[in-house]
């Protein structure tokens, strides 16, 4: 059973998401919160597996809340950021802060449920195309100058290859098939490269890769 918590300042959105999620036999909604501050204390108390987190909220917003939770909580939950619009700067900020993926409020219920299940598994990047688009838009705004981070030189060729495949949205198993290596080997590579990048999960790793110019988003 996967436990889910819903954070949104709009009661009607919470109620809708709760109805969709709670109707699934393998998912359970354990709590709700109406802002970031409340979310932090509720998550510490209820220890959900997944949090659906609205970005724009009064007081502590979704980005700050995500950052705080991931920093302060041992074994934090997976956080899925929920947003109205795709081309939202805040979404990118939330992903940078360590959210595992994002969902649009207009997503179909099946997509919402699939995203929750996938993020629990944790071995696939959600919405690779959208993340690339966000990174590309960011690149236009900020001149991507600056020195390449140290990890560029530290990745082995195989790890670099795995990172590139990850960014296209392949799962570990698919990466294994593409590179003709076992799933266990892929997992080892992923673990190593996450450690070298200092990334929490694949989403953050891919974002770092785009940001540092290791992968060109365009």
């Amino acid at each position: 059973m996967t436990t889910v918590m819903i954070v949104d300042d709009e009661q009607l959105i919470r109620a809708g998401l709760r109805a969709i999620v709670a109707a699934e036999p393998d998912l359970d909604v354990v709590g709700e919160a109406a802002d970031g501050a409340q979310a932090q204390s509720e998550i510490a108390r209820l220890r959900p597996d997944v949090v659906l987190m609205d970005v724009r909220m009064p007081g502590v917003d979704g980005i700050q809340a995500t950052r705080n939770i991931l920093e302060r909580q041992p074994e934090p939950p997976k956080i899925l950021v929920v947003t109205t619009f795709e081309n939202d700067d805040y979404v990118y900020d939330a992903l940078r802060a360590g959210a595992s993926g994002f969902l649009l409020k207009r997503s179909r219920p099946e997509e919402i449920l699939q995203a929750i299940r996938m993020v629990v598994q944790g071995d696939i990047l959600l919405f690779p195309a959208a993340i690339r688009a966000l990174a590309a838009a960011r690149q236009d705004q900020v001149a991507s100058a600056g020195r390449a981070p140290r990890w560029h030189g530290q990745l082995t060729d195989r790890e670099a290859e795995v990172l590139r495949l990850m960014s296209t949205g392949l799962s570990n198993a698919e990466i294994g098939e593409t590179l003709f290596v076992s799933l266990q080997t892929v997992k080892t590579h992923v673990g190593n490269l996450l450690a070298k990048l200092g990334a929490r999960d694949r989403t953050q790793a891919v974002i770092f890769a785009y940001e540092s110019g290791f992968i060109q988003p365009k």
Binding site: I13, G16, I20, A23, T84
Partner: protein, 411 residues
């Protein structure tokens, strides 16, 4: 080599070439006119030495004066501007300033164009002719004792150097054309481009338009986007749990109806803003001088307390203050209803203080976020003017408090 040749074959050079030639062409009717004008004074033809030189100088000066006077006419300026923009490729934007300094600059440009054009026209005919002549002379059967100033050259072996001179002359002419064109392109923006004042105004207009667009985008995002999200989530939830939980489905339908209605209202509001923007582009923007009219229109009981001389507040600050009061009063009417409002305006030496307070009314249904949106827009504008803004509840009052620095040069 390529870099040396490129200017000679580039279209830009030859467009500028035609610009120079046009100047020469304009010269001719002016010359005819001027000669006709001079002939009115008769001609006794008996001047010599200094007198003649003086008369010629006077004549040339008179001609230049005539050109400058012609250039002062706005129509000549517009024509000359169009020529320059099209053929020289500069300025990118023509100035529309009608002040005398701007017209004088354009007139000087016109006169310089015509005179340079005339000189260039002569060079244009002369240089190729002379160049051809230098090539012909060495092969020409010469009578043993040719007369003339050039005889010592044309009659010696030095004659074979003449074609070299011809080549140099041609090159000089060609690169002279390139150089003149470049000079024209460099000077044109100063002579005909928008003045500093015009450029500032253009930048301000762009900034205003951008701020307005951002505001509308935010309005749409927060209002219609928000409502449609509710509609989507509630509808998909209702469809999924219809069988197990008909009660939820029923509530969801109610929420959908309500959200959609709010979205339409908000859309109406935003479209209204767009129309308003269209109108405000045509009418001058309002400032604190128009405050009385604004206060009269609201129908709310308002106490106004003004300190200092509001007249001396720069226009940008005054416009902003007007908007803040306008937005504030709209919010009061929307959220608190018909309640007494108190407005305090104080023009201090270095800043304008604005305070708008009203008792908080009962929270009206559907009023969520509405105040916040308008306030966000104001906040952004205030920060552009380096001001500070605070808005929020204070005891049982709602207060909007703004301080905007008054700096010289803010127009």
């Amino acid at each position: 080599m390529k870099r040396l040749l490129r200017p000679l074959i580039s279209g830009t050079t030859w467009r500028r070439f035609s610009f120079l030639v046009v100047g020469g062409a304009i010269f001719i009717p002016f010359l005819v006119l001027y000669v006709a004008f001079l002939s009115l004074f008769g001609n006794n033809g008996a001047h010599h030495g200094w007198t003649l030189a003086l008369l010629i100088m006077l004549g040339i000066a008179g001609f230049v004066v005539m050109l400058v006077l012609a250039g002062l006419f706005p129509v000549v300026r517009a024509l000359e501007g169009a020529f320059t923009k099209e053929l020289v490729g500069a300025p990118e934007v023509l100035g529309e300033d009608r002040s005398w300094p701007a017209r004088a600059k354009a007139a000087a440009w016109f006169a310089a164009h015509v005179i340079t054009g005339a000189a260039y026209g002569i060079a244009c005919i002369g240089a190729p002719s002379v160049a051809i002549w230098t090539f012909v002379v060495p092969f020409h059967e010469r009578p043993a004792a040719e007369r003339g100033d050039l005889a010592p050259i044309t009659n010696s072996h030095w004659v074979w150097l003449l074609p070299v001179g011809g080549v140099l002359l041609t090159l000089g002419f060609l690169y002279g054309t390139v150089l003149l064109g470049k000079i024209a392109a460099r000077l044109a923006p100063h002579a005909l481009g928008p003045s500093a004042q015009e450029r500032i105004e253009a930048v301000e207009r762009r900034a205003d338009a951008l701020a307005e667009r951002n505001r509308l985008a935010r309005e749409l995002h927060d209002s219609v986007g928000h409502a449609l999200s509710i509609v989507t989530v509630q509808a998909s939830a209702a469809a999924r749990v219809l069988d197990q939980d008909p009660q939820f489905a029923k509530q969801a339908l109610g929420a959908i109806e309500e959200s959609a209605r709010t979205a339409l209202e908000d859309l109406d509001h935003v479209l209204g803003l767009l129309r308003e923007e269209e109108r405000s582009r045509r009418t001058p923007q309002r400032t604190l001088k128009d405050l009385d009219e604004l206060l009269g229109n609201t129908g709310l009981p308002i106490t106004v307390d003004c300190e200092g001389d509001l007249e001396r507040i720069p226009a940008a600050v005054s416009r902003e203050a007007y908007r803040i009061v306008q937005e504030g009063l709209t919010n009061v009417a929307k959220h608190a209803g018909h309640v007494p409002v108190s407005l305090r305006l104080a023009a201090r030496t270095a800043e304008l203080e604005l305070d708008l307070t009203n008792p908080r009314g009962p929270a009206l249904p559907g009023s969520r976020g509405l105040g916040g949106r308008g306030l966000n827009g104001l906040q952004e504008r205030v920060s552009v003017l380096r001001g500070r803004m605070w808005a929020g509840p204070e005891a049982d009052l709602w207060r909007v408090s703004v301080t905007i620095p008054i700096t010289r040069g803010t127009t």
